[in-house]
Symmetry: C2
Subunit: 129 residues, 2 copies
């Protein structure tokens, strides 16, 4: 990997409205996504706004998942940020997109902590034969 | 505004190392940033990793601020996501960048929930004179 982490900045459109105001469902979905990714959950916090709207974050040892829901527009702003080998935002994205039945989505993928910019040199010297 | 929100995905480089493992300092800095932005804090959670490393999130009524710190590289991954008029990620970014004494930074700005994509029409009809 050429960066410490990778982040998917996700827009989910036309989500199933009856699930977008159920904070327990959203929490369980976010935790399920973290577990399916193979992440280690360290903290989680969810908040329900009046009359509706949910914001929540799952901090994982490998960074975080964050969600903000606008039920009135069937719209979800989702971030999935992971670090390290063997864990990918894509797995979490797929779990959440399916759970909320998003009809379409847009993903912007960014690298976080590009190693060459941090002075990290992981090039492996070749051993002489 | 043409979107529900805006998010700054921020890389902070060459930060002052003696502040990067102080969870109380980081929490206070993040809360100060939220307050300076004029945001309403609804939840906050911070976690210290062993031997070092801090992850934390402040959920605001207007979305969130999230931070992940790699002390060993003097590097911080910061997200500042705000919604609505009269509140800008830039203010929070500036508070945090100054507090950790980052020598350089990189910001990727994204719009979240573009209104035309959500079918929101805010055009004001002109009144006949």
């Amino acid at each position: 990997l050429k960066s410490l982490g990778q982040q998917w900045v996700v827009e989910l459109y036309d989500c199933s409205p009856h699930q977008l105001d159920d904070i327990d469902f959203i929490r369980e979905t976010m935790l399920a996504a973290a577990h399916k990714m193979g992440a280690t959950v360290v903290e989680e916090v969810f908040h329900h706004f009046s009359p509706y709207g949910i914001s929540g974050v799952v901090i994982i040892a490998e960074s975080h998942l964050a969600i903000h829901i606008w039920k009135e527009y069937g719209y979800i702003a989702l971030d999935v940020f992971t670090c390290g080998d063997g864990i990918s935002p894509e797995v979490g994205f797929e779990v959440i997109k399916k759970a909320v039945d998003a009809k379409s989505s847009k993903v912007v993928k960014t690298l976080r902590g590009i190693k060459s910019e941090l002075g990290i040199d992981e090039s492996q010297p070749h051993k002489p034969e």
